[in-house]
């Protein structure tokens, strides 16, 4: 107080004033906080409580299991497997981040840093509360993580659709999106049956996302989807796809398809589209691949459409098979009114019988016959055979094609349509038209879904073969069949011949229509046919887009694919036998094709070869033929030698005992084929893939002894490899 400090009248009063100010400040502070508490806790509480309810209660969907897709023999094509996903709450993991990352790294083989990064590193000021660590991992892997008892790690089950045969049948089966909704193929068409209905449960959850059931809401159980039985035969499907792919490669084609059907019933046995789709990894598939082009795409058929002209001509008794037509030496000019069209044949001919004109596929003769038939009868036959209307197949996206009414035809339409131009058809329309011929003139509706069943096996609904109409008389169908057999025997499709099997069919080659006009050098090559001609079991169509390397005619491009498929089916099917081969005149065969004798017993193979005029020479040790030179399908002359190399160490043992072959890992069907070759009786337990066999491979057993096969569905093995 000694300092001469100016203007401090009364220190105590100054202090009191400032003290008052301080008290006022605190009072204000208390009032603000108190007022705000009243607001938040009472006045505005509803708003925040609504938010709270949202985060405490969560309705969880209990996903229904999607139904299985099953082929005609009971092989499961698509089913569901539980996969597990792991998420972490980095806040809870906290200081254990290193340990957690290490554990994950050990199980999944990724570097620990990868997981540490997800967890926000050793220290993260703004940690998120939820990160995915690993998604959709197999349950076995998941168990190893769960066993480590890691803090802050949450495990969730996620069902995943599994297609047991990968790309085989992929385009037809289609696939589902992440929410298990079918988005293409059968998965889409039968989504309503397959999906079932989800259940739900309302859960109380905490900040971790952990939940417990809420008593306030009832639990609604999910109803699993129905299983769908298809008409498909997965073995045929695999054969068709494999041969199609091989054929496309050989021909350098852009794409193609092969469809097989039972002509009696309309059951689709195989529907292969290339390039295909693997529904297990549909990520990279664009929409055009997912389309089932056998029903969604139309093409100008060319000569295969001659079935319409010929059927109409025969049905109305306008033309006899041996009636002769002048083929104009390869070129004919048609002028009607102001329309002029040049019709050409691939070869020059003078006179051809109608039957021969089918065999060599003369457009000129067919145009002339078309004129005889007339517009109304040609149109009616086309319509009756199912062109221009949907076949009614149960596959999504089917189009009707284009078939112009006679009233809208131009002057030359009659002639050009007679050999397959100015119409647009789908491959399945063409297939069912030939199916009608194979079926004695009766058109049936093609279908792929045999039945829909509940998971417990009760049939919800089933499809039975549907007759659409009789299109032609039995006699006409028979005459057409004979004509088509001639095409294969002597005509444009000799590459399709299989010794011992009567095949009837027709080739087709049409220039592709690209942006409204015919493109030169761009063709659609097709073959449609059925076998055995005397008792048709399978009708098939093979088409190829833009073959390049071996020419573009259907007979040399799509034909061999058809033959390869037919051959393998004949070899594996008991329904279709080669019994007719003995009746054949060997001298008629100037060119033979080497049969597939692999996995046959040498004696049987030698007999078979001998019946075709070929000599089998056996080399090596073993019970069955492992390799043949030349390969199956190779052309041969009578008297040629086919080297047969025996394989495996399964020697026929002494005193009539035979070593049991190893059939583990084979499909039941293949295993049975193999065992029957050695005349074993087969006792099958389960279905799918052979897991165990009794007696074991190599055991000596008597012919006729019973071999028991223990099989498992493919799902389990595929899942393990997955």
């Amino acid at each position: 107080m000694n300092e001469p400090v100016a203007a401090t009248p009364d220190p105590a009063r100054g202090f009191r004033a400032r003290f008052l100010l301080l008290k006022f400040f605190f009072a204000l502070f208390f009032l603000v906080i108190g007022g705000r508490l009243v607001m938040v806790q009472v006045l505005d509480a509803g708003k925040y409580r609504a938010l709270a309810k949202k985060q405490y209660e969560q309705r969880f969907v209990l996903p229904a299991l999607r139904g299985n897709l099953v082929d005609r023999n009971g092989s499961v094509l698509a089913s569901n497997t539980m996969f597990v996903s792991f998420a972490a709450d980095p806040k809870i993991v906290g200081d254990d981040a290193r340990r957690v990352a290490k554990a994950f790294a050990q199980v999944f083989g990724k570097p620990g840093g990868f997981y540490l990064e997800k967890l926000g590193g050793p220290s993260g000021s703004d940690r998120r509360r939820f990160v995915w660590m690993e998604r959709s991992v197999r349950p076995e892997m998941a168990k190893r993580v769960a066993a480590a008892h890691l803090p802050g790690i949450v495990m969730m089950n996620e069902p995943r659709r599994l297609y047991h045969y990968d790309h085989v049948g992929g385009a037809l089966l289609g696939f589902t999106d992440l929410d298990h909704r079918g988005i293409s193929g059968i998965e889409l068409a039968l989504n309503a049956d397959l999906k079932g209905s989800n259940g739900s449960v309302t859960l109380q959850r905490d900040g971790l996302g952990r939940s417990r059931p809420s008593a306030d809401y009832p639990r609604i159980e999910p109803v699993n989807g129905h299983d769908v039985d298809l008409t498909l035969d997965i073995e045929y499907q695999a054969v068709a796809e494999e041969e199609l792919r091989r054929g496309l490669e050989i021909n350098g084609a852009d794409g193609g398809l092969a469809v097989l059907m039972n002509p009696r019933t309309g059951e689709i046995l195989a529907l292969a589209v290339a390039p295909g789709v693997n529904p297990n990894a549909p990520g990279a598939v664009d929409a055009s691949r997912a389309r089932i082009r056998a029903v969604t795409d139309i093409f100008e058929p060319g000569s295969t459409f001659k079935v319409v002209t010929a059927a109409a001509a025969y049905e109305h008794h306008l033309v006899q098979p041996e009636e002769r037509f002048y083929a104009e030496r390869g070129t004919m000019k048609v002028t009607i009114g102001r329309y002029t069209r040049l019709i050409k044949d691939t070869h020059e001919h003078d006179w051809l019988t109608f039957r021969e004109s089918m065999e060599v596929s003369s457009n000129i003769v067919m145009a002339k016959v078309g004129k005889v038939v007339g517009p109304e009868r040609l149109y009616d036959m086309a319509r009756n055979l199912g062109f221009g209307v949907p076949t009614g197949i149960d596959i999504p996206g089917e189009v009707r094609g284009t078939l112009k009414r006679p009233s809208t035809w131009s002057g030359t339409t009659l002639q050009t349509m007679a050999y397959g131009y100015e119409v647009g058809v789908t491959p399945v329309q063409m297939l069912s038209a030939y199916g009608a011929v194979a079926n004695g003139g009766v058109l049936v509706r093609p279908y792929v879904v045999r039945s829909v069943r509940t998971p417990s096996g009760d049939v919800v609904r089933s499809t039975s073969p549907t007759v659409i109409r009789r299109v032609m008389s039995v006699e006409t169908a028979k005459r057409l069949t004979e004509a088509f057999e001639g095409v294969v025997e002597r005509g444009t499709a000799t590459d399709v011949r299989i010794p011992g099997v009567r095949i009837a069919g027709k080739t087709g080659t049409a220039r592709k229509v690209i942006e409204g006009s015919y493109a030169s050098g761009s063709y659609t090559a097709s073959f449609v046919g059925f076998f055995p001609a005397d008792d048709p079991q399978v009708v098939g169509v093979v088409m190829m887009d833009n073959p390049r390397t071996r020419g573009f005619y259907g007979g040399v491009t799509s034909g061999p694919i058809f033959r390869a498929i037919a051959e393998r089916i004949v070899n594996s099917s008991s329904r279709i036998s080669r019994s007719v081969m003995t009746q054949r005149d060997p001298h008629r065969d100037r060119v033979l094709s080497v049969p597939d004798v692999r996995s046959m017993q040498p004696e049987f193979a030698r007999q078979m070869l001998a019946s075709m005029g070929l000599n089998g020479r056996v080399f090596g040790d073993g019970a069955v033929i492992a390799k043949q030179i030349p390969e199956a399908g190779h052309p041969a002359e009578p008297g040629d030698v086919v080297s047969l190399v025996l394989g495996t160490a399964l020697k026929p043992a002494a005193n009539g005992l035979v070593a049991v072959p190893d059939v583990r890992g084979l499909s039941v069907r293949r295993a049975m084929t193999r065992l029957v070759v050695d005349e074993f009786d087969v006792d099958v337990r389960g279905s799918g893939i052979v897991r165990q066999q009794m007696p074991a491979a190599g055991t000596a057993a008597k012919a006729g002894a019973s071999v028991t096969l223990v099989c498992e569905p493919r799902s389990m093995t595929t899942a393990v490899l997955y």
Partner: protein
């Protein structure tokens, strides 16, 4: 220093503080149980740790209570220098917690040097002001030397970086200087310089900027930050009377820091508006008793010390509540005696002990043997100045 006879301590103050500590056991337990269970597998883990700190805190109260407060005048300077050295050491050596170097780990115990420095600074300022007397009104010899100490401590704390703790210390120093009758011109001049500087510093770090932004947008109708929103949901869940002890839903990991900086939200959820206002009332009692003690303190040092301690505790409580309820940007300051956390609890307890010691040298509660025998019965307020 004339030794005078000690009277009774201010029992209402002690009672309120002990009550807060006891209540904190329940609150911290409830708030931390889920987290502790999730983290350590035992829900009592944090409760046990907190219980230990409460016991130590009570010890600290009694330690403060029995040491004559005038003793501190001799030690404030070396302690403050020590605290500054400690701060600097932490800056170099301290482990990172939540992205800031705020802790110095000594044999398993985490010590927040900023807590020590805060009280050391405030104590030293009290001592300085008491020594300087009217000299505090002199710029060069009074104001500047004090500002150097304030600047050193606030600067080091902010460098940690702990902006909000630095700002709190600055604000409390300002209150103290204000009460020391420093010149208005000095104070306002300092404020004019400091506030823009602090503002620039505040927005210089992204996380501070984000917090401030989230506060501003939140209060203008936009979305609140996750933590604040969860805090508000907690308050709202409680309503008028609360959901009941241990019934909090928000503590089930919805509300981060539910046992620390946002513990008041759990109080609001479990005990409702009644509970939060009761807690506020307890702090109001501390404020009123502290101010009363300051007013009747027998010397200027005691008076300033009582003001500093009382203001600190009340200020922290109000700021913590203000953050939790969304009237202040998120800072991360504990609620004294209630939040989980050792350093704050120990230093606050010791400070209250000192306040009680000061009260014992006043005539608030004279011993029976002294002249005024009705002292113990008198109400908390209304004593003639």
């Amino acid at each position: 220093m004339n030794e005078r006879q000690r009277n009774h301590i201010d029992l209402p103050l002690l009672t309120v503080v002990l009550l807060l500590m006891v209540l904190s056991l329940g609150v911290v337990y409830s708030a931390s149980a889920t987290w502790a269970y999730e983290k350590f597998g035992e829900s009592e883990r944090l409760l046990n740790s907190h219980l230990l700190k409460v016991v130590l805190g009570i010890g600290a109260i009694f330690a403060g209570m029995f040491i004559p407060y005038r003793v501190y005048r001799k030690f404030t300077k070396p302690v403050l220098i020590g605290a500054i050295v400690l701060l600097a050491t932490t800056l170099v050596l301290g482990g990172e917690t939540k992205g800031a170097t705020r802790w110095l780990r000594l044999g398993g115990f985490g010590l927040q040097p900023s807590e020590l420095a805060k009280f050391a600074l405030l104590f030293h300022l009290c001592a300085l002001i008491a020594v300087k007397g009217e000299l505090v009104r002199d710029f060069k010899h009074g104001y500047v030397p004090m500002m150097i100490w304030v600047g050193a401590v606030v600067g080091l704390v902010m460098l940690q970086p702990n902006f909000s703790a630095g700002a709190m210390i600055a604000a409390l120093s300002f209150i103290l200087l204000f009460m020391s009758r420093a010149r208005w011109s000095h104070l306002l001049g300092t404020a004019a310089l400091a506030i823009p500087a602090l503002a620039i510093y505040a927005v210089s770090a992204p996380y501070r900027m984000a917090r401030i932004q989230s506060f501003l947008t939140g209060s203008s109708g936009g979305g609140h930050s996750y933590q604040l929103l969860q805090g508000l949901i907690g308050f709202a869940n409680g309503g008028l009377f609360g959901v009941g002890p241990g019934e909090s839903r928000q503590r089930d990991l919805f509300l981060p820091e539910s046992y620390g900086d946002f513990v008041f939200s759990i109080v609001g959820e479990e005990y409702g508006l009644v509970g939060t206002l009761f807690f506020l009332f307890l702090f109001l009692v501390i404020l009123l008793r502290g101010f009363k003690i300051a007013r009747v303190a027998k010397d200027e040092f005691g008076q300033l010390l009582a003001l500093a301690i009382t203001s600190t505790i009340a200020f922290y409580a109000l700021v913590n509540a203000g953050v939790a309820i969304g009237v202040l940007p998120t800072t991360g300051q504990p609620m004294p005696f209630v939040s989980y956390g050792g350093s704050s609890l120990l230093f606050s307890s010791f400070a209250v002990g000192v306040l009680l010691n000061i009260s014992a040298y006043t005539d608030l509660h004279p011993r029976l043997s002294s002249t005024n025998s009705v002292a113990d019965a008198e109400p908390a307020v209304g004593t003639p100045a």
